[in-house]
């Protein structure tokens, strides 16, 4: 079993929002998308998507509706809302600041090492 990379707190919400910018998706598709786009590095415990999705729904950053798949199965499809798109912007800039900051710290360590 491959070791799961721990996510930084709050990044899961951000990644879901980012994934949804490509269009409405159901939960499994969101998980797959995150896995593929990260080259299988980020294999989160996929179920933890669902508490996160509930949170996003509660904040009205996404909305959900039930649809039928081609194989005629009921799935819940999540769509990004306007406020959700704004929120993504907020989270992205915060995330980039953090990455830059962490990057600086780590470079220092490397030089000394």
């Amino acid at each position: 079993m491959s070791r799961k990379a721990d996510l930084m707190p709050g990044t899961l919400d951000m990644m879901i929002l980012k994934t949804l910018t490509r269009g409405p998706l159901h939960g499994y598709a969101i998980a797959q998308s995150i896995r593929q786009m990260s080259d299988e590095v980020l294999t989160v415990e996929e179920g933890s998507l669902y508490p996160a999705l509930q949170r996003l729904l509660l904040e009205a950053w996404v909305k959900a509706e039930w649809k039928r798949t081609p194989s005629n199965r009921r799935v819940r499809v999540y769509t990004l809302t306007t406020t959700g798109r704004k929120q993504l912007g907020v989270e992205l800039s915060r995330f980039e600041q953090m990455v830059v900051a962490i990057g600086r710290v780590m470079r220092d360590v490397e030089v000394e090492g």
């Binding site: 415990e45 179920g47 669902y50 508490p51 904040e59 199965r73």
Partner: protein, 881 residues
């Protein structure tokens, strides 16, 4: 999104809850199936794909719960926890009932006592801004709160700058002619601004006008609401009517509000203006009033006291004859009114708090033991996905449910106890404590109850949560709860038992000391035989009794009439009954002794010839009064031994003369005898020097008759009242009782008795609870050590050895508890100081008795578990592993 929006969403969720659950389940299931399908298409075998899909998806129960937590209100899951908690309690009813009973007792006792404290100390005065009202009186070395003289009052009122108003009152009684005959009714004489100062407005009619208390004004009066209803049927036309109060025509001008109360004279029916008509109020040396002042804004009690003392000093210089040593006292009115019940209430509140503590410690101990037993359950729940917070919350919920039920039961207990205790207070005492009418579940009491309940709930949740280290989960699972608690937790339980035993010792020794005080007080040498004596008080009206001879004749006729009744052995009278107070004092001077102007204050009573024989008091020297000691003969006086010792040390007082401070010739009286001390003061007060004058030589219009009877004295009371009425129907008769009853009901006896009984009750419960705690801890320890005991026995230990081992463990706990308790009790007894009578705080006998009692009780509590330990079957104990 706004908080309100989120809240709305959560609210909506409540109604769609089952749909939410189903949809989430469906969605998750779809997801898991998709993973499984993907794995299978990659070539993973069926069951393996299923397993790996589950791993990749995660624990669905926990995820659903987490999703749930996101959208639901917190209490959604709380309801689940509560349901589970209640189920837990019904599963082990023994535990639940024990815990709830203990809590009910602890909370019930403390809430009850707090209700008394609230009524008596927190809200005793139903007046406007009661904390600005001050009790203002004169003060002497002997009387820290003495009466105020009218002349001094006038000067105080004029000179002070600290009070917006300064008023006076004094207790009074009136003879009222009713259809049933003459009745003596209690009243109060007040200065005109009295009610304005209190902030009380009459509900009918008007208040006294300023200046209406001058001698030149016609006498007016106010009715208490109860009197208005009872005597005048609540009719409005009573306003303006003129009544004869003790023969004085008095116009009723108003009715006081129904909730008005005046504790210094709780039963007062009439309030009249204090016109300085009597002789006392014309003399600066005569003190008969109490003052009430309202402090000006920003003035402190200390400032007011300092100023009043300054004024008193000024008057002392101005009037050295009458005012030497007369200082001033200013204290909050509430304190003056509740002064005598304060110490007892504080002690009882302390006792109740300790009882509550013991109950809480006991319940925590039970919870600890249970948490120990539930480690496995918690480990399983943790493994199934319950988060640590969720498990902790379960304990918090269980604690809350327990406390909720316990508090509800406690309030029920308190409601009953309040009624019972209130009913146990004698009418006479109750009249002096009208503030107790407001006792009950007031907002203060509810606040107290909620605080206590929350503290208890906190304690009960923390205790088991401490026992919830997640790291130990796996170990708990694997050992299956067999080897049980670590020594640390067993020790915590044991230490709690030590605390309990110590508290029980404190309460028991407190109760012991109070009981011993009560016993000593009730068995002090009264100096007379109090059994078989009936008493009643007689109040002569002014009309027909203006002259001394008229009063003396009436008294003599009454004594003769009563003496002739069947069953009467002897009869005497006095102006102040024994066991009343160091009051009705006189300032005296002795002929031939140096006098430096300092007051020689002695108790002064006028008694009839047969007074001492009736009481069976002892004559030490000289003679008693005879029938010939009347107005036609030279004045004579008897003194008690205290007076003889204090003023005639090493001398024979017989033949010496006593007079007033000026030695006025007609005040001089010759000492003809010395009697042994009769308890004139309250039971717990120091005996003062006393002089007894012959009633016939100075007859007053108010006196008490004492009758020694052959049959039970109660049975003679109607005949005695009838005798007075037969002689003159206009004479008032009151306070018919027996001397023993009077002593029994006297405030000091009552206070000490209630303190002793209540503390005894608390101590009894505390003893029981601490023994239950000890029993529980030792039992638990034995059940945990079963395997060890089995091994010991398998290795050849004797049953007696095991028995002793357990008893030693228990003995150690109770020893520590007792030693700590004895130390604490001595400290606690010092705090009870004023309630102890004739007993020292470190009374060895009491402490020894408590130690023996507790040791015996502990032995009993440990006997059963240690016997169980000794009868452990080693084979079974070891096989159980």
């Amino acid at each position: 999104m706004s908080a309100a929006g989120r809240w709305m969403n959560r609210l909506l969720f409540l109604f769609r809850r089952s749909r939410f659950e189903a949809e989430l389940r469906e969605e998750m299931e779809f997801h898991r199936e998709q993973i499984e399908e993907e794995l299978r298409s990659d070539g993973t075998a069926g069951p393996e794909a299923h397993r790996r899909a589950a791993v990749q998806f995660g624990n669905p129960t926990r995820l659903r719960e987490r999703s749930h937590d996101v959208v639901a209100f917190r209490w959604e899951t709380v309801v689940q926890d509560v349901r589970y908690a209640v189920r837990q309690m019904t599963h082990s009813p023994g535990f639940a009932i024990t815990a709830i009973l203990m809590l009910a007792l602890g909370i019930g006792a403390s809430v009850t006592i707090f209700a008394f404290v609230d009524a008596a100390l927190l809200q005793p005065l139903p007046y406007a801004q009661p904390d600005r009202l001050m009790d203002v009186t004169e003060s002497l070395a002997l009387f820290p709160r003495g009466n105020l003289s009218y002349q001094d009052y006038l000067d105080w009122k004029r000179l002070n700058t600290v009070f917006t108003s300064l008023e006076v009152y004094t207790g009074s009684g009136y003879l009222l002619q009713t259809p049933e005959g003459t009745e003596a009714v209690p009243g109060v004489r007040v200065s005109a601004g009295f009610f304005r100062t209190l902030g009380v407005t009459p509900v009918e009619g008007r208040d006294f006008r300023p200046g209406e208390d001058a001698v030149s004004e016609p006498p007016v009066g106010l009715l208490s609401y109860a009197t208005w209803q009872k005597r005048f049927g609540g009719r409005r036309d009573v306003i303006g009517r003129t009544l004869k109060l003790s023969g004085v025509p008095t116009t009723i001008v108003g009715v006081l509000p129904p909730d008005f109360q005046f504790a210094p004279r709780g039963t007062a029916e009439f309030f009249t203006t204090a016109q300085p008509t009597n002789g006392c109020e014309k003399r600066r040396s005569c003190h008969n009033l109490y003052g009430i002042g309202r402090l000006k804004d920003g003035v402190t009690v200390a400032t007011a006291l300092a100023e009043m003392k300054g004024i008193a000093q000024q008057l002392e210089r101005q009037y050295p004859d009458s005012n030497r040593g007369q200082s001033a006292s200013v204290m909050p009115l509430a304190r003056a009114i509740t002064g005598d019940v304060r110490p007892i209430l504080f002690v009882l509140l302390g006792g109740a708090a300790l009882l509550l503590l013991i109950a809480c410690v006991n319940v925590s101990n039970l919870l600890l033991v249970r948490a120990e037993k539930r480690r496995q359950e918690m480990a399983v729940r943790g493994a199934l996905g319950a988060s640590r917070v969720r498990l902790a919350r379960q304990y918090v919920t269980e604690g809350l449910v327990l406390v909720l039920v316990g508090t509800a039961a406690g309030i029920a207990v308190a409601t009953v106890m309040m009624r019972v205790l209130h009913a146990m207070i004698s009418k006479q005492m109750l009249a002096g404590m009208p503030y107790l009418q407001g006792m009950g579940l007031t907002s203060h009491v509810w606040g107290f109850t909620v605080t206590v309940a929350l503290l208890a709930a906190g304690l009960f949740s923390i205790a088991p949560i401490l026992r919830l280290p997640m790291a130990a989960l796996r170990q708990s699972l694997s050992d299956g709860g067999r080897s049980g608690g670590s020594t640390f937790w067993r020790r915590l339980g044991a230490n709690l038992v030590i605390v309990e035993v110590a508290i029980a010792v404190v309460l028991l020794s407190g109760a012991g000391l109070l009981s011993k005080s009560l016993w000593k007080m009730l068995h002090i040498d009264l100096g007379f035989e109090s059994d078989h004596i009936a008493t009643l008080s007689v109040d002569l009206p002014e009309r027909g009794f203006e002259k001394d001879t008229q009063r003396a004749q009436f008294a003599q006729a009454l004594l003769d009439r009563i003496q002739s009744l069947p069953g009467v052995q002897s009869v005497g009278l006095t102006t102040t009954l024994p066991v009343s107070c160091n009051c009705n004092t006189d300032w005296v001077r002795f002929v031939g002794k140096p006098y430096n102007g300092i007051h020689n204050e002695v108790n002064n009573r006028e008694v009839s010839a047969a007074f001492f024989q009736t009481l069976r008091a002892k004559l030490v020297r000289g003679r008693l009064f005879t029938q010939s000691d009347d107005a036609t003969h030279p004045k004579v006086v008897l003194v008690n031994e205290s007076l003889a010792k204090k003023y005639f040390p090493g001398e024979d007082p017989i033949g010496k003369k006593i007079g007033d401070t000026e030695l006025t010739p007609n005040s001089l009286r010759e000492i003809v005898g010395v009697v042994s001390d009769i308890k004139d003061s309250a039971l717990d007060a120091e005996e003062w020097p006393a002089e007894y004058e012959a009633f016939a030589q100075d007859p007053s219009s108010y006196f008490s008759v004492l009758v020694r009877t052959s049959p039970k004295p109660e049975s003679m009371l109607p005949a005695l009242s009838a005798a007075v009425r037969a002689l003159n129907p206009e004479v008032g008769v009151e306070d018919q009782t027996t001397l023993e009853q009077r002593i029994h009901d006297s405030p000091s006896a009552w206070l000490h008795r209630s303190a002793a009984w209540l503390m005894g009750g608390f101590a009894g419960i505390a003893l029981l609870l601490s023994m239950i705690g000890l029993y529980g801890t030792i039992s638990y320890s034995v059940s945990q050590r079963k395997r060890e005991i089995g091994v010991r026995m398998a290795l050849g230990a004797q049953r007696a050895t095991i028995h002793n081992m357990i008893l030693r463990e228990a003995g150690r706990l109770s020893c520590f508890g007792i030693v700590a308790g004895v130390g604490c009790s001595i400290a606690a007894a010092n705090l009870m100081g004023s309630l102890l009578f004739g007993v020292r705080a470190w009374d060895i006998a009491t402490l020894a008795a408590v130690v023996v009692l507790l040791a015996a009780a502990s032995l009993l509590a440990c006997y059963l578990p240690s016997r169980r330990a000794a009868t452990v079957n080693p084979v079974e104990a070891l096989r159980a592993e």
